[in-house]
Amino acid sequence: MPWFIKTRSERETKNKLKDDIWVRCNSCKAHIFKQDFINNLNVCPKCGWHGKITAYERIGITLDSGTFKEINETIRPSDPLSFTDAKGPYTEKVEASRKKTGLNESVVTGTGKIEGCPVAVAVMDFRFLGGSLGSGSGEKILLAANYAYDHKIPYILFSASGGARMHEGILSLMQMAKTCAGVARLNEKKIPYISVLTDPTTGGVSASYAMVGDINIAEPGALIGFAGRRVIEQTIKQKLPDSFQTAEFVLEHGFLDMVVQRKNLKETLHKILSYYNR
């Protein structure tokens, strides 16, 4: 083996080892033992910064163990526009994302129990194309709402998304109307719909199902807003404060019921559900 390849692979192994042991907090920049970070539900033990977690990790810490049954897991993107951008075809991006995450879409849906209460759940996963809302994700979110409707059980939806998926064009935009139509039917049948907004919940997802929960809950520090910070700064020609579009900012302006730490979320959801007198 030539020397330079050997050195490169050695360096990679060393870096990987380092990555395996340490995590750097995005907020306080402290180096944290990865295992401590994971044990603390991907929350910085020093400053309380909430890192992202995967859909299955979320399900694991929210539902009673062994109760989750996934539905519609085979739904995955097609390429209705034959979309190609500077980095190549959409289909390749989807395949790369599927390989990386083991998911078929940006949302995992199913049913399960919270302290014994049956619920339908949808959990978005930011790793899959930035949690973007495409046709397949819209369909899964609608079908989970329909399941809640048919079985008259509460619907809990965790958002983590940059917004509508550009690669499916207008069809992605229409998913906003589609998912909201599902929510609207729950309202009519008086079925609780709880929206949990996690980092980030922006664009078309904030402007559809994420903002119309009977109860809107967010995790601390989550980025929540409609328009992007840069676009707004260009429009109003002034710099926005760091606190702009945080969960706390949105709470202060009246669009959230509460901001709840990840470790307390399950208990909070259970308490709220206990008031549903069906």
Binding site: A86, A184, I232
Partner: protein
């Protein structure tokens, strides 16, 4: 001098030739009349040819044409007895979103739309048709009023998008649009939507959940502006023409994707060359669908709307 778009140059040149011929022909008219007639015929044909073959990016230019008819023109040219209703009962009266009672033929309707201006001054007053949360909330208030009065709702879409401003975020732009999408799904009167110019993303959809959705032939409707898409996916706004093509934002594409119900033809040369004729075409189609929708019972209407939006999208199972 009228502003011309690049691809309109041949049309303008022919128009100049026609004018010239007209001015010369003053004395010996007969000699020129045949020639003039032929040239005018050719002009119409050329206009049609050019406008039938616009690229998506050229269509964007037409949809944003400074002389393209705005909501006020349609109110005037299609409806009678417009009674404007103001305010969202919460915060203010958004001038970028207008609405009120109006009469279409003999039908009483609730009319709502994005309101762009005709010049800079008016555009500043109307925020270029970019509504704030109070605009969307006013629209929803009027839709619920229409439900109470049992009259159909007609919405006109023409906006770059919902206003991306600090105040709009503070007052819940996302919530306002989301609320409209949710409530519109169950409004108990027919809703007809016409995209007349720019259908800019969530700001357009916020009044666009219709039982029937129509588009003028040179309007556009997109999840993101071509410029926005180009700067994100190509990291360079100069790729906007490419993004416009990739996003499939023309009326024809939306019809093929099953998102809209019908394309309303514009006169050759675009809506701005004949606002009156454009209005007549829209009126004809609106009356047709009003009649069609009024025959449905309330429950049928709402179920059909639900199914329409449930069936949107293409994916693999």
């Amino acid at each position: 001098m009228e502003r011309e778009l690049d691809f309109e140059k041949p049309i303008f040149e022919m128009q100049k030739a026609v004018e010239k011929l007209k001015s010369v022909s003053g004395d010996n008219k007969e000699n020129f009349e045949v020639q003039l007639g032929e040239l005018e015929k050719k002009l119409v044909e050329r206009k049609k040819e050019i406008y039938d073959n616009l690229t998506p990016w050229q269509t964007v230019q037409v949809a944003r044409h400074p002389r393209r008819p705005v909501f006020f023109d349609y109110i005037k040219n299609i409806f009678t007895d417009f009674i404007e209703l103001h305010g969202d009962r919460c915060f203010g009266d958004d001038q970028a979103m207008l609405g009120g009672f109006a009469t279409l033929g003999k039908k009483k309707v609730m009319l709502i739309g994005h309101s762009k201006g005709k010049d800079v001054e008016e555009n500043l007053a109307r925020n270029f048709g970019m509504a704030r949360p109070e605009g969307y909330r006013k629209a929803l208030r009027l839709m619920k009023l229409a439900q109470k009065f049992n009259i159909p709702v007609i919405t006109f879409i023409d906006t770059m998008g919902a206003f991306p401003g600090l105040d709009a975020e503070e007052r819940g732009q996302a919530e306002a649009i989301a609320r409209n999408l949710t409530e519109m799904a169950r409004i108990e009167v027919p809703i007809i939507t016409v995209v007349t110019g720019e259908g800019g993303s969530g700001g357009a959809l916020g009044i666009g959940v219709g039982d029937v959705v129509l588009m003028l032939s040179h309007s556009i409707y997109s999840v993101i502006s071509p410029e926005g898409c180009a700067s994100i996916l190509w990291r360079d706004a100069s790729f906007s023409p490419k993004a416009a093509e990739a996003l499939k934002i023309t009326a024809k594409s939306l019809y093929e994707l099953g998102v809209i119900d019908e394309i309303i033809p514009e006169p050759p040369g675009g809506a701005h060359t004949d606002p009156q004729k454009t209005a007549e075409e829209i009126k004809k189609v609106l009356l047709k669908y009003l009649k069609k929708l009024s025959s449905l019972s309330t429950s049928k209407l709402i179920n059909k709307r639900f199914e329409k939006y449930c069936s949107m999208g293409k994916f693999t199972r």
